[in-house]
Subunit: 411 residues, 3 copies
């Protein structure tokens, strides 16, 4: 590694909450830091102390460091500096910010995933407040939202974000790059409690097996490792064809997503709002998922300005069997939640099933029926999910059973 | 078997043509029969004689039998009493009503199946006149139309119905319960000239093999057993995915049916009249069937009150390739027959093919063509089916050839 | 071979550019030619010379030949006479017209195939000027467009047409009969620079292997044989189901076509302009093709009189992913070319990709991106195809780069 000068971060006019660092190794003269920051008066000393600490951590004694600060939080600045350092020295070390205790939760296989918010993995300003939008999941994106010359530094930023930014309960997801390139991304996220890895442009079960193998390697020294869920995205005709093999490829696959921007490009058509060009592919994915007992997740909707079209899209998505859709802007969340929510009919049916099941269990019946339909375990599970979703979206009160009971007694 | 008291039959206010029996074994005192019947004056003696005969057949000498009669025919009452008896004594015996000679016909692989009428397997009043509606097939249903605590007694009623109720030429079908539970249902129907077994919630060729194996066992002492046809119903995403394997699973499979109520529940959507949510699945089933050279049968249409919607449904079903649909009420049959019938264009085309084939055969030609199209065996067969169907539905006269000839000579 | 009299050719009132020959072998008396032709005054001698030459070539010394000429070109007449000769004598010889040097081109795997014009393989009048319509491909059809008793003579006509009629640059295709019957057709076309063989009613990869095997046999004495491309047509439910196996069956398969007339007949439905009955099958074929990296070609549109419906059909074809459609009349070509052409959006996107790629290559970059999207080899290839197509259809000037540059410098 002969390079002695490296940069990291963004310094565009509109970049906020970020910084741009230029690091040049020198052979003498100690550490010289040039800091440009609007908040130098308040935070200048703290920034210098942080930079000195990071450089010292990697054993750098002589260097010229320019920091153009645009309001970067310490975990962001540390990520930028570390990204620059790894370009000029060879080191196995990492400079890790504190893991927030509130980020240590895991996610469930059947977690609601009606909304998942994509955030570019190298844009701190969009990450900072992502948790407040209450999406079911937040995806830090290392793939399409990161330019090629930024792939390296994004890994450090995503790693630090997983540790030190509160996700406020949203499922913690990262979209890695396409396998095999994306396998190295796993090194930066698996040790930091990522809940779910989104695997783009998936075209074979083997890609899933490779991801799981690398995860197992990264977890081999952990006593009781948390399960890391996988969501493959199918984005090509080949991926669609292989959906029946990919959906049941591993126990860790909790959903398949379809990526319609890339899929329509692959088959050489324009994506339309009506979606005739992709209905076949979407239905194939839905059937593959439901047959494998996992969730089916629809594509993002690209036109963030057209909320009416988004509404139509959400209603169609739900009506053909999807369990959620991706979103690329927080302003899409309200519409997604509103129109993906179970409707009254769904809720009433689910209530009846749960009540019948509870009654039967109470009376010690082995087999439960509603009308002439057997209520088996999957039916009960699905009803419970509908109720949970309705409650989580404010469509039903948590104590609906007692409320229903009261109304029944009153009448 | 310690139970000494058992019931069978229905005694709801609206239940007609049925009876409710309460049988209690006693240790002394002989047979005591309490009969409640509006027709006691006329049939009281006959009923008592029947009951005594049944009890005697099973060697019961002391019992208290209450019979609440709502106009049950003897084969119904015998079924009810036998169902009660098998709950309190262990016996391999059966009390079989006479097999009507007119019920001994078999059905053909390519039988028309544009309509198949579902009848609840435990509701005698709906069975009694089922034959007069001229549906292509009658399905005695042991599955969803029978409540769980009635599954046992329904088997005796269906068995007796197969023997003693005239099906008036309709294909004699029974829907068993899902395999493996449904395998035991076969014991009650295979020996009684069921033409076709409907296998619900089918998800693998293995289920078909199991059914066929049990049928073979039940027929092993029959010299020249009649072929029992199978119609698997696909009612889940997994079933749909497996349609390409299930359709050619056995030579006895004459059709696949799709069950849209359960399928839409399985993929978590509402069934709509437009049917966008199931078009993919329906087309997959159609292609699986046609590729295997068997019939494709569409789902029942649930809203028996909406005949306009039924008409639209039938037209769509036919237009995408289905060969028939199920119905749950006789009043749906007229619409089904009317809109599933071959239209004039179909009939004219079929006539031309049959005439060209007859001419060519007469002249000793090996290869037959119509225009530049080769008329091969499957084409002729299909044309013959169209003509047969048109005749059976009153769209064409049986002697159309001679009529056409006359008109041609006259002009 | 005891037959001593044979005929070939068409002598219907409307047949032009053709002739009808009646050849009868005699045992003495030499060659007697009866010629009926409107152009006898001008061409009588030439026709007689040709006939004598052909008869001599096959060693026939005594025969009575009647030629009813309707303006047949020499290569047509020779084909007719040869077809008659092969019915009455046994010979391995062929009478080949000159191979036009301008017909010796080959076609590329990724050749544009937005239009392919079907020509009946036994109708010279439709062939003569076929090249002037500028369809991407011309298909000489030995299958459905040829009556059964004309299959034999059509082979000689198609062979001679391949050699002696200018295709004006259109891809030179022949549709053979269904395998295995069609294998023998290959003997008549492979040695005569057919670019692409269209394989109808394909239902298995094995049929493709058989075609390739016969082609290899026919080419075994050629030093550097040209690759003969294959286009299987899927025309049955079974074919559709097997599309995922047929598309990648061999490296020589450059496209799959779907045949909707036969497909709809196979599944027992009417073909409609809306096409709901075949959307599933068409999408399955598109996905099979795109997954295998080959072209997807849509069916012909039968109503040559309804150009508005054709337009709608072309727009839909393109919008769901087809790369071209078949046509059965030259008058359909204008609409096909107009509405299959890349639109401005396609062209602009393709331009950007090519420019970004050229810039990156110039600057020695390994990885090229447009925005955050990686531009990999397939993306560049697809963009180049769009640009080529736009140029070939007159939507873009050949020197668009320099024009764009000038406009950019000017602004």
């Amino acid at each position: 590694m002969n390079k002695t000068k490296a940069t990291a971060g963004n310094n565009g006019e509109k970049d906020r909450s970020d910084c741009f660092v230029i690091l040049e190794l020198t052979t003498s003269g100690g550490i010289v830091i040039d800091l440009k920051s609007k908040v130098e008066a308040l935070f200048g000393d703290a920034i210098r102390t942080l930079c000195m600490d990071v450089l010292k951590h990697f054993g750098i004694e002589h260097a010229h460091l320019i920091v153009e600060d645009k309001g970067a939080l310490p975990f962001v600045m540390a990520a930028r500096l570390e990204a620059a350092i790894h370009q000029v020295i060879k080191s196995e070390k990492e400079y890790l910010p504190e893991m927030l205790p509130e980020n240590l939760y895991s996610s469930k296989r059947n977690q609601h995933r009606i909304s998942r918010l994509y955030l570019p993995g190298n844009t701190p300003s969009l990450m900072i407040n992502a948790g407040i939008h209450s999406s079911n999941a937040i995806i830090l994106d290392l793939e399409d939202a990161v330019a090629f010359d930024k792939k390296h530094e994004a890994r450090y930023l995503v790693r630090n974000t997983l540790r030190h930014l509160s996700f406020m309960g949203a499922e913690r997801m990262v979209r890695i790059n396409q396998v095999p390139r994306g396998l190295d991304d796993l090194d930066y996220i698996i040790p930091h409690n990522v809940n779910t890895v989104v695997v783009p442009k998936c075209e074979s079960p083997e890609q899933i097996h490779e991801v799981n193998k690398r995860i197992a390697t990264l977890q081999k020294n952990v006593n009781v490792p948390k399960t890391v869920w996988l969501i493959p995205i199918l984005e090509s005709a080949l991926g669609i064809i292989k959906s029946y093999e990919i959906a049941p490829a591993a126990d860790t696959v909790v959903a398949l997503a379809i990526g319609l921007e890339d899929y329509t490009a692959d088959i050489g058509v324009s994506r339309t709002n009506e979606g005739t060009e992709s209905l076949f592919a979407r239905c194939q994915v839905i059937n593959a998922c439901k047959a494998a007992g996992i969730q089916a997740l629809d594509s993002v909707f690209s036109d963030v300005g057209d909320n009416d079209a988004l509404k139509t899209y959400v209603i169609q998505s739900k009506s053909i069997g999807f369990d959620g859709i991706g979103c690329i802007h927080p302003r899409q969340l309200k519409t997604i939640h509103e129109y993906f929510a179970p409707d009254e009919l769904d809720i009433e049916r689910a209530k009846k099933i749960l009540i019948a099941f509870a009654d039967a269990t109470e009376q010690g019946h082995g087999v439960v029926s509603l009308g002439t339909k057997m209520i088996d375990a999957p039916v009960v599970k699905r009803a419970q999910r509908t109720i949970d979703l309705a409650i989580s979206l404010g469509r039903l009160q948590h104590d609906w059973r007692s409320i229903d009971n009261k109304m029944n007694s009153a009448s």
